[in-house]
């Protein structure tokens, strides 16, 4: 089922403006073959990278009919968000570069993997002891396939990066910068000290980009503790949130640790919302089977829609606290909601209640969106006005809700939901995927 194309004059105006705004970018001439070569070179150098950027669309066909036909209930919309329902080198990018021969050792035979995770940090030049002209520092950012170095975080020059051995990095310039041409190769040995918080980079041979060598070689100190992981596909293991605090304590934030097998990714790690996304490879001809786990600090019960309501931000249900029993009781009593009996659970040593929720198939209530009526029921909204993901029920979109009492009248909500409409059997499979992760959760209270 296709969405109706808008006839809204304002949207037509926005479309015109967007087109005009991006015309210069779209018209920028490139050397397609040079871009192609740079891309192929870079891709080969980081072939083993585990990055999954664009994976939402890559490698799996999104079945528009299925998506559009469904109204899935849980929505991640970032720091400011709400969920409702709706009806159904040699780069040629930039100035044409000149071919650049590298005098560095060829990585072709040994460029075999992503940058080791121990290096995935923001690094900073250690400040000199005495103030003076040498006070200027520099920053280095390393991810599994990218290196950025520059005088500040916002002015980094980027290179593709890959491991070429246990202590060796191969970097390939991805853009022309001062003294550096796309495709310029450099090979570096890295040595970590202490608990991995200090690193020394040493050029092996000569970097084809002398400017980069001058910027990279030498000592670095880790500038981010703990490492940011938002947006990264996680290797199997145990991690800790860097932003999310289940205890909503601004002064001394608590944290949440979790253990994931392969295939999970952090979609959001904000102070009041933490979202894990499971993106398994789809089988040919099969739809994607994304699963989301949303964790929301201090959720509030969202008020049900009144008749004739216009779809928009959820409003709080009056007179209902964030307490586990209050929310569970109100949800079970809400018309149109089918809930399983509450089950007592323990999450990371804290007591909670688990219920599965789905929309009564005969339910027709909801709200009105610009393109028509929407069937659904609001469930939860995040803490603070308009912040955090919100949760609702829609046809064929069951959710599992676990409310955990984290003490002092505070609650953490854990929600399991699918990205696509699902049968109960399909949902059960998604829940089975998510539960081991949920059962692994450990809550770390604020430490004054």
């Amino acid at each position: 089922m296709s969405e109706q194309k808008t006839t809204d004059p304002f949207e037509a105006r926005v479309a015109d403006l967007v087109r005009a705004y991006t015309d210069p970018a779209g018209a920028r001439p490139i050397d397609s073959l040079a871009v192609s070569r740079a891309a192929m070179t870079s891709a080969r150098a980081s072939r083993w990278s585990t990055r999954r950027l664009g994976a939402g669309a890559a490698g799996r066909r999104v079945d528009g009919g299925r998506w559009a036909a469904a109204a899935v209930a849980v929505v991640l919309v970032g720091v400011v968000g709400v969920a409702v329902w709706s009806r159904p080198s040699n780069s040629g990018i930039g100035p044409t570069p000149s071919a650049s021969a590298s005098s560095a050792p060829s990585p072709a035979a040994s460029a075999v993997g992503p940058v080791p995770e121990v290096l995935h940090h923001l690094w900073q030049r250690p400040l000199p002891v005495a103030p003076g002209p040498a006070w200027a520092t520099a920053f280095l950012v390393l991810t599994d396939g990218l290196l950025g170095v520059g005088p500040d975080v916002g002015a980094a020059s980027h290179s593709a990066a890959a491991a070429a051995g246990p202590e060796t990095l191969v970097v390939t310039a991805t853009a022309d910068t001062t003294g550096c041409a796309v495709g310029d190769l450099g090979v570096y040995r890295f040595a970590l000290e202490g608990k991995g918080t200090f690193m020394t980079l040493t050029a092996i041979g000569t970097d084809a980009c002398a400017t980069r060598e001058a910027a990279l070689a030498g000592p670095w100190a880790q500038a981010d503790l703990p490492p940011p992981n938002e947006g990264l596909t996680l290797s199997p293991g145990t991690y800790q949130t860097t932003g999310f605090d289940p205890f909503t304590d601004d002064a001394t934030p608590g944290r949440l640790s979790y253990t994931v097998p392969a295939g999970w990714k952090v979609k959001e790690d904000a102070s009041t919302a933490f979202v894990l996304h499971h993106l398994p490879d789809a089988l040919p001809g099969q739809p994607a089977t994304d699963t989301f786990i949303f964790m929301i600090a201090q959720p509030r019960l969202a008020a049900a829609f009144e008749e004739g309501a216009v779809c928009g931000e959820f409003v709080d249900a009056p007179g209902v606290t964030s307490g586990v029993d209050d929310i569970v009781g109100a949800l079970r009593a809400r018309p149109g909601v089918i809930a399983t009996p509450p089950t007592a659970v323990t999450i990371g040593g804290y007591e909670g209640t688990l219920i599965d929720l789905r929309l009564d198939p005969s339910w027709t209530g909801g709200c009105t969106a610009p393109d028509g009526p929407v069937v659904g029921i609001p469930i939860l909204s995040g803490p603070g006005s308009g912040s955090g993901p919100s949760v609702g029920l829609a046809p064929n979109a069951p959710v599992r809700l676990i409310l955990v009492d984290v003490g002092d009248g505070r609650t953490m909500a854990i929600v399991v939901a699918c990205a696509e409409p699902s049968t109960l059997a399909f949902f059960d499979a998604q829940v089975a995927t998510a539960m081991p992760v949920i059962e692994s959760l450990e809550l770390h209270p604020p430490t004054p």
């Binding site: 969405e3 304002f10 926005v14 015109d16 967007v18 005009a20 705004y21 991006t22 015309d23 210069p24 970018a25 779209g26 050397d31 397609s32 073959l33 040079a34 871009v35 192609s36 070569r37 891309a39 192929m40 891709a43 980081s46 664009g54 939402g56 669309a57 890559a58 490698g59 799996r60 066909r61 999104v62 528009g64 299925r66 998506w67 559009a68 469904a70 899935v72 209930a73 849980v74 929505v75 991640l76 720091v79 709400v82 969920a83 409702v84 329902w85 780069s91 990018i93 950012v141 991810t143 975080v153 916002g154 980094a156 980027h158 991805t174 853009a175 994304d290 931000e313 939901a417 990205a419």
Partner: protein
């Protein structure tokens, strides 16, 4: 070069297969055919021409690496644009820049039939959005994506995209003085 790589007509599936096999001319034809869309979406999300160039190049690398995973050649354009949008988001975030204010004033860039002041308002409005929201708007209005496709690209539910887009348009409506 651009002309030479897009001149011939060849079934897209065949071009993709040759590119997967390592044929750089075949991949160059894909680049030539889709650079405009990739550059537009990257710039729209970043709001910075330099970052957008880097994002587009990075997106082409990702696309080449993952090209064999594209099951439906007819989906090449949205698949590529999704990658570009995500690379641009990633880069915009890592750069910690929110400089969606860049407007070219050169003649060739200046739209003939569009109020330049409105473009400045648009750039200002985009500057107040985070990269994901810009990606939502960009994929909709540049790529013509449906909500489900945007959701697939950005890791959101289709419904979430619809609602978010609705809210973003309301914001833009205010920012562009269209109330």
């Amino acid at each position: 070069m651009i002309d030479s790589v897009i001149a011939e007509a060849e079934p897209q599936r065949s071009i993709i297969e040759r590119a997967i096999a390592g044929d750089e001319m075949a991949f160059a034809r894909i680049v030539a055919a889709h650079h405009g869309d990739m550059a537009r979406i990257a710039f729209f999300v970043c709001g910075d021409a330099d970052i957008a160039e880097e994002a587009e190049q990075a997106a082409w690398s990702v696309a080449y690496r993952r090209l064999k995973e594209l099951r439906d050649p007819d989906r090449l354009r949205p698949w590529l644009m999704s990658i570009a949008a995500n690379e641009a988001r990633q880069m915009a975030r890592s750069q910690r820049r929110r400089t969606v204010r860049e407007l070219s004033v050169t003649d060739h860039a200046r739209p003939r039939d569009t109020d330049h002041a409105a473009l400045i308002d648009l750039a200002d409005a985009l500057g107040r959005l985070d990269p994901r929201d810009r990606a939502i708007v960009g994929l909709r209005f540049i790529g013509g994506f449906e909500s489900a496709e945007i959701g697939g690209a950005l890791g959101m539910t289709a419904t979430g995209v619809r609602v978010r887009l609705h809210r973003l348009l309301e914001r833009l409506r205010k920012d562009l003085g269209d109330e």
